[in-house]
Amino acid sequence: MKVAVIQFPGSNSDQDAVNGVRVIGHQASLLWHKEESVGDADAVIIPGGFSYGDYLRCGAIARFSPVMQAVKQFAADGGLILGICNGFQVLCEAGLLPGALVRNRSLQFRSEHVFLKTIAKDTPFTGGVADDRLLRVPIAHGEGCYFADEETLAGIKANNQILWQYVSQQGEANDDANPNGSLENIAGICNQARNVAGLMPHPERACEEVVGSADGRAILESMAAWLDKGKSAEAA
């Protein structure tokens, strides 16, 4: 798979995303925020960081950059888009994902490893995650508390759009396991069409044992596998 990783001013996990994709044996390169097309990319990653300083609201300003118009089109055409941390916030601000991310309940930044339970398996981002395998990946955010109004939340659940929940090491989605106060321990979701997903944790920072965990690969590998299937389907 060929992944374009968006580089906003203030992105700081952009190179991590590029490396993560390369580590699992695929191609990735940075795409400057002033570009107006995503080129020949098979998938787009909107990386972590503080786009435009995260002033006003996280992701609020990035949403208006030229490249985001191309990303919206890419999404409309069914392209795969993964928003990580700040990228998740950008996608919500841009309306490509429902809900919003607000200040952590602790009012403090949180940097630690968490355990993720994969809920919906029928998506390009989760297809390769073995049943009830928990993923241990780092979080690093100050505004990762997922919120959506009741109606929206009901819709998300009805459509099985919750991809990952924060859980304990034993797999329970309880309060202790929730690092930021997210509704229903939500760590990541996808859109109705299931081609756009966002999560607060950083799978791209968990792709090699030497940095403490390789569990994040499962998510990137799912995307690659899904794209391959698509290609071979076309071929056939």
């Binding site: 006003l56 919003a100 508390c145």
Partner: protein, 78 residues
């Protein structure tokens, strides 16, 4: 002229900052505090016709300055 914009979290949205401030106030012995809401305040110096500006600011509030999913806004021009 000057646009004064206040943006507040919708009632449904949990407002941990508001809670924290309320606790702190009670801690400091301020009695009778029944609710605290924390939002954002913006001042924008902008020139143009009143109507035009009004339209612009309202649009900016809707598109950029506030997030309709979680926030409400109001503004006045001076």
């Amino acid at each position: 002229m000057k646009a004064k914009i206040t943006i507040t979290p919708k009632k449904a949205v949990l407002d941990p900052q508001g809670k924290a401030v309320q606790n702190a106030l009670e801690h400091m012995g301020y009695a009778g505090v029944s609710g605290v809401h924390v939002g954002r305040y913006l001042e924008i110096e902008i020139d143009g016709e009143r109507e035009a500006v009004e339209k612009q600011i309202d649009e900016a509030c809707h598109k950029l300055l506030s997030n309709p999913v979680i926030e409400e806004y109001r503004f006045e021009l001076e």
